[in-house]
């Protein structure tokens, strides 16, 4: 089990039961578990949605869509069954927060799923775990079984006349199915490719029924919001960015790990105080603020609040909360290559620009980093990425294009340093196959 980190600056909401033995249902109940859902049962759907809206909770998967609004889009009347779908396909490099939730607090996901079900009138929820998180499935399944045994799931939950079931499922190992519609395809047993939108899942989702699909952290936040009250939750964060967020700090920080900090928390402070600065006292070179798909920030650009709006203003994205810290030993060309290797590998292959673009970028960057680059390659890499951006079927193409553009734009000199067969200034010979450290390091 990964070592948990802690820091006095943390505001523990979602992570408050981490390390407390809350996988045990009795322990979970002791720690205020299954309280919010009872209240939700009493108050009814409109009240739940009003609470969610007031909390300013925004989706923790990366796009930051207001959760209360998402739930309110689901039609009240529907011929087809409605569903709640928990997106636990946490795959964005640099991100490892949902993993901890499933590991330490699975019941908070179950409780949040039931509440979402009550809010939209669904009777069935699915908890979809990333394929590589197969080892967490046992924990999740035990939690679901315990909840059934208690009468919290199944017919007439908590003694009410409301039925609710939960099914858990793992993926088969594809980043692409983190995209909500691809996840639904996968869950339906099909090839994991995204769907054409509209219609959006709230109207036509899983098996054609109206579906609310939320990130696991979002769902885990729900019971806490009801328990503490939406205003109190909202006030923890910054304007229009309610609550706290699990930030996953990785790379060259002194104390990597997952920290729960208020939305809007200063990035510089996060790295230098919470995470203890740069390892070995080296210089910070750059920060990827929200998972590998978000454009890189220079060391000079990190004095910003970490919420959706402020990071957006700085030209990047808050994304999934994966903060990757890069010190001055990192070759940015190699880092760009490592990033594009991931997206090339994970492209589902459906649309031309993503399928061919990532493949081309990977080939070019491989040759380039190995010392075979020509001056025109630098512009060509940028040209390719710019011609993928905004033109792919789903956001994966953007996820590959955005960081690539930023690397070339912000570190052009490093690209130029690789020209003419010069050895990589960062100690790796052009022939070296060794790549930058893996983006995610869970200790």
């Amino acid at each position: 089990m990964p070592r948990l980190v802690s820091h006095p600056e943390e505001v523990k909401v979602v992570s408050r039961r981490f390390g407390q033995g809350a996988t045990d249902i009795e322990r979970y109940i002791e720690l205020d578990g299954y309280k919010a859902v009872r209240q939700a049962l009493e108050q009814g759907p409109d009240w739940i949605i009003a609470q969610m809206k007031a909390s300013n909770l925004r989706g923790r998967g990366g796009a930051g869509f207001p959760t209360g609004m998402k739930w309110s889009f689901v039609p009240k009347q529907s011929e087809k069954p409605k569903y709640v779908l928990v997106n636990g396909d946490e795959s964005e490099p640099g991100t490892c927060k949902d993993h901890l939730i499933f590991l330490h607090d699975p019941h908070s996901v179950i409780e949040g799923t039931i509440i979402a079900g009550l809010a939209i009138g669904a009777k069935l929820g699915f908890i979809y775990l990333r394929g590589e998180y197969r080892y967490l499935l046992k924990i999740m399944e035990k939690a679901i079984a315990d909840a059934y045994a208690k009468g919290f799931l199944g017919k007439g939950i908590f003694g009410s006349n409301f039925d609710f079931d939960i099914v858990s499922q793992t993926g088969a190992g594809a980043y692409e199915v983190g995209e909500e519609s691809a996840l639904m395809e996968s869950l339906e047993g099909k090839r994991g490719i995204p769907r054409i939108k509209p219609p959006f899942p709230a109207v036509v989702g899983l098996y054609g029924g109206p579906t609310v699909i939320n990130n696991a952290e979002t769902i885990a936040s729900v019971s806490h919001i009801l328990n503490m009250g939406p205003e109190a939750y909202a006030n923890l964060g910054s304007p229009r960015n309610g609550g706290t967020r699990l930030f996953c700090i990785s790379g060259h920080a002194e104390r990597n790990g997952v920290y729960e900090l208020p939305m809007g928390y200063n990035l510089k402070k996060m790295i230098y105080e919470v995470a203890g600065g740069i390892r070995g006292g080296r210089q910070l070179k750059a920060v990827v603020p929200g998972g590998s798909s978000t454009p890189v920030l220079l060391a000079s650009e990190i004095d910003i609040g970490m919420d959706f709006d402020q990071v957006g203003k700085a030209g990047s994205m808050l994304g999934s909360g994966g903060v990757v810290v890069l010190d001055d030993t990192v070759c940015m060309v190699e880092f760009a290559l490592r990033t594009i290797q991931f997206y090339q590998h994970e492209s589902c292959g459906w649309c031309i620009p993503c399928r061919e673009g990532t493949d081309w970028l990977k080939k070019t960057l491989t040759r380039f980093h190995a010392g075979g680059g020509e001056a025109k390659d630098i512009d060509n890499i940028r040209y390719l990425a710019e011609n993928m951006l905004g033109r792919t079927f789903c956001p994966l193409g953007d996820a590959a294009a955005m960081p690539t553009i930023a690397f070339v734009k912000k570190f052009r000199q490093e690209f130029e340093d690789h020209l003419n067969g010069k050895p990589c200034a960062y100690g790796r010979s052009p022939e070296s196959q060794t790549l930058a450290p893996a983006l995610v390091e869970v200790s």
Binding site: G349, D359, G390
Partner: protein, 781 residues
């Protein structure tokens, strides 16, 4: 739906709400490029070629998935969009091999055309392209992965259009690959639609690959010679050592009543024409019993002398004539006319595969009750009783599937087998093979123990206001009457009766019957035909096919003229039976009948002649000569020459030379195609002089004039469209014996991979049949 108005490139467009932007634009002449978008198939938005700018939406949008909305302002050809398309092409071409000079699709490739238009001529891509070796998936389908641009058209046409689902996608990213769902080969109907629909040369056919360049072929639109659906096929022909050879069959221009559809036979089974066993010299049996090749003049001389002698010595009743279901209407008409007016006999028959006579009689006096095949793609409800359209009428099956998919048509099905079309049917009722008659009576109200599903069908059918009733040859005699009677009790039901071969219906309509004249007129009644056919034309009905062979075995048949049929094989006629009959066979091959002949005249097939055919739905279509083979003659020519040599007046037999010369001597632009159109106009208005007795148009004039029901728009027919003909059975009702006359029906029993005699000589069809049989055995065992 209500109309909405939008602006595209400054043009105001009005179209029904919900129309896809790409379609709305195409209707007003704004072409938005696309690879993956394909009308009629599900949407993909994968190729990203159709990106357009819609005001107030931040990203470029795919026109193929965007429904139009009121007030939408769209730009389709800005610099930004052109750049996006150019970049998309650069990306596709990054891994696409530039082997265009040898690629089958070179010259008719959508990727080439698109690259030409958007000018992605240069590439920054210097890396090695991803390569995979070519694969063979079936006797007819090859796959070249590097050329594939992953538009998924093949996967969709197989899943959605064919309901076969033989293709899927494997792997992901740049390694994504179209692959057979069944290991490494295709378990399917081998229709080749995947090849046809491929925008590039990724899927190629064994019959065409690396054979020729598209521009080296002449493309001729004619009618497939196989089943009774009568699909239009565009044959690509090329000069060969002994004529013009067919190298490709498709219908990529989507013309004709089948749109783009062709089945395995239409697409590949033209190769019988190139079979090495094809006869190309007239053969006359010598006193030693062996065949010897002779000149055409000699062969025809022998035939004419013997026929004339037989007629003059034994009377017309001593001659028998058997026609074919694969000759043109003109040939069938001329054959019976020659038999009746020149030979003086009514001993005329053909291989009957369904009872058109009873069907026509049942609908006597009704108008517009016979369905055209196009009705099957638009009718709101269809009842199919008997037959297996997937195997025997592939176009009908395609139409029904399309109708269900696009229009949610209701298909009701009753059959003694679990036929594949049951997937589209709700409900499907399985009945026993000998209970079709009872089932029809049950529909009409009789109480029979068919169970709840059958009762549900019956009740549902009774509430269908526009039902299309299609039945196979399982229905005979009184069952046809009962079926039609039931249908006529519904408000606007239409009917179709399924026969097996390309001109089965035409053979029937043209009067290849011993008791019926063209248009189902009784042979003993008064008609224009009677007055025109002259004094030799007997009043009494002649012998049917079985009776002819019985007569022969009794030495009562002096001569037998078999045109394009193999009754000896089908009926198991013994050589003994024909020992005293002079047998003339016109055929392409040494069939069982030909082996017993005294003279064999090698003939052209439907792809090598002109004329018209009528499909089983009564859709009349023009056949155009595409291929040519040295050493063979059309049946039309041979009939005329035999009659001529017998001393008949050819001008009476074939009304040629009656036209008025009216070209005014104007020269027409050959390059513009105007000459062709002008030619059609002249022919349609009977102004083109028919200078030859071998011109089928001369016979068509007479058919149009004398055959009841063959009342059609000549110019429309000659322009390549189908004309629906509907003979009236009123004459049949007057004669009581037609109700009890033997139908003589022998269904061909063909499957998707067989096609009577022709099928046996199609190597490709045989290869596919064996391949699929092995597949089925592997699946079963």
């Amino acid at each position: 739906m209500a109309d909405v108005t939008l602006t595209v490139d400054g043009k105001t467009i009005t179209a029904p709400a919900g129309t896809l932007l790409i379609e709305a634009c195409r209707k007003v002449g704004i072409e938005i490029p696309a690879f993956c978008y394909y009308p009629g198939l599900s949407l993909q938005a994968a190729c990203r070629m159709c990106l357009v700018r819609i005001e107030k939406i931040p990203k470029l949008q795919t026109a193929c998935t965007t429904p139009i909305a009121e007030g939408m302002i769209v730009a389709t050809e800005t610099d930004e969009i052109k750049q996006a398309r150019k970049a998309m092409l650069e990306l596709v071409l990054a891994n696409h091999p530039l082997d265009c000079p040898v690629c089958d699709a070179g010259g008719e490739c959508e990727l080439q055309d698109m690259t030409f238009k958007y000018g992605a001529g240069g590439s920054q891509f210097v890396e090695i392209k991803n390569h995979r070796d070519e694969q063979q998936w079936s006797p007819v389908v090859f796959f070249d992965r590097p050329r594939c641009i992953l538009c998924y058209r093949c996967v969709r046409v197989c899943n959605e259009g064919m309901d076969v689902a033989a293709l899927g996608i494997q792997q992901r990213n740049a390694g994504s690959v179209i692959a057979p769902n069944d290991q490494t080969s295709l378990d399917c109907e081998q229709c080749g639609m995947c090849i046809d629909i491929c925008p590039v040369g990724a899927l190629t056919s064994d019959t065409y690959r690396y054979k020729t360049r598209p521009w080296e072929m002449t493309h001729v639109g004619t009618i497939c010679t196989h089943c009774g659906d009568g699909c239009k096929t565009t044959l690509g022909v090329r000069r060969s050592d002994d004529g013009m050879q067919i190298v490709r069959g498709d219908n990529r221009d989507k013309s004709g009543l089948n749109g783009e559809f062709l089945c395995v036979k239409g697409r590949y089974a033209f190769d019988f024409a190139n079979n090495t066993e094809r006869l190309t010299q007239p053969l006359v049996r010598q006193p030693n019993g062996e065949f010897a090749p002779v000149s055409w003049e000699d062969a025809i001389q022998v035939v004419a002398q013997k026929f004339r002698a037989a007629r003059d010595e034994r009377g017309g009743s001593g001659i028998g004539v058997i026609g074919s279901t694969r000759i043109t209407n003109e040939e069938a008409y001329l054959l019976q006319k020659t038999a009746r007016s020149a030979f003086g006999t009514n001993n005329i028959d053909h291989h009957r595969t369904t009872d058109y006579v009873r069907f026509t009689r049942a609908l006597a006096g009704q108008d517009h009750r016979m369905a055209g095949i196009s009705d099957s793609i638009s009718a709101p409800a269809i009842f199919v009783l008997g037959n297996d359209p997937t195997e025997q009428h592939p176009l009908l099956a395609w139409n029904l599937r399309t109708n269900v998919r696009h229009n949610s048509a209701r298909v009701y099905l009753a059959n003694h087998r679990e036929i594949k079309l049951r997937h589209q049917a709700k409900p499907f009722v399985q009945i026993s093979g000998n209970s079709y008659g009872k089932f029809v009576n049950f529909l009409g109200g009789a109480s029979e123990p068919f169970g709840e599903d059958a009762a549900a069908i019956r009740d549902a059918l009774r509430n269908e206001p526009n039902l299309l009733i299609i039945f196979g040859s399982e229905l005979r005699g009184d069952a046809i009457d009962a079926m039609v009677k039931f249908g006529l009790s519904l408000p606007d039901a239409k009917f179709a009766c399924l026969g097996d071969y390309v001109n089965s219906r035409g053979a029937a309509d043209m009067g290849l019957y011993p008791d019926l004249l063209p248009g189902y007129q009784p042979v003993d009644g008064e008609s224009t035909v009677r007055t025109e056919y002259g004094s030799r034309f007997p009043r009494q009905a002649g012998l049917d096919m079985g009776q002819m062979f019985e007569a022969a075995s009794r030495n009562e048949l002096a001569a037998l003229y078999v045109v394009g049929d193999d009754p000896v094989e089908r009926l198991g006629v013994s050589a003994q039976a024909l020992r005293n009959t002079f047998v003339v066979v016109q055929d392409m091959f040494m069939t069982a009948t030909a082996k017993l002949a005294d003279v064999i005249l090698p003939t052209a097939n439907l792809y090598e002649k002109s004329g018209t055919v009528t499909n089983t739905f009564g859709d009349l279509q023009q056949v155009k000569k595409a291929a040519d083979r040295a050493g063979v003659r059309s049946d039309l020519e041979l009939i005329v020459r035999i009659a001529d040599t017998m001393g008949e007046d050819v001008r009476t037999l074939v009304p040629f030379g009656k036209g008025v010369r009216a070209d005014m001597g104007q020269s027409r632009g050959a390059q513009s195609g105007e000459a062709d159109r002008h030619g059609i106009w002249l022919a349609a208005h009977d102004l083109e002089p028919k200078l030859s007795p071998f011109d089928p148009n001369a016979i068509l004039d007479e058919i149009q004039r004398l055959v009841p029901g063959y009342d059609f728009d000549r110019i429309d027919l000659l322009a390549g469209n189908s004309q629906h003909v509907e003979p009236d059975g009123s004459g049949l009702v007057q004669i009581s014996q037609t109700a009890s006359r033997p139908d003589g029906v022998i269904p061909s029993g063909d499957t998707l991979f067989t096609s009577g005699t022709l099928g046996r000589y199609s190597e490709k069809l045989n290869e596919v049949e064996v391949f699929q049989a092995k597949k089925s055995m592997a699946t079963a065992g």
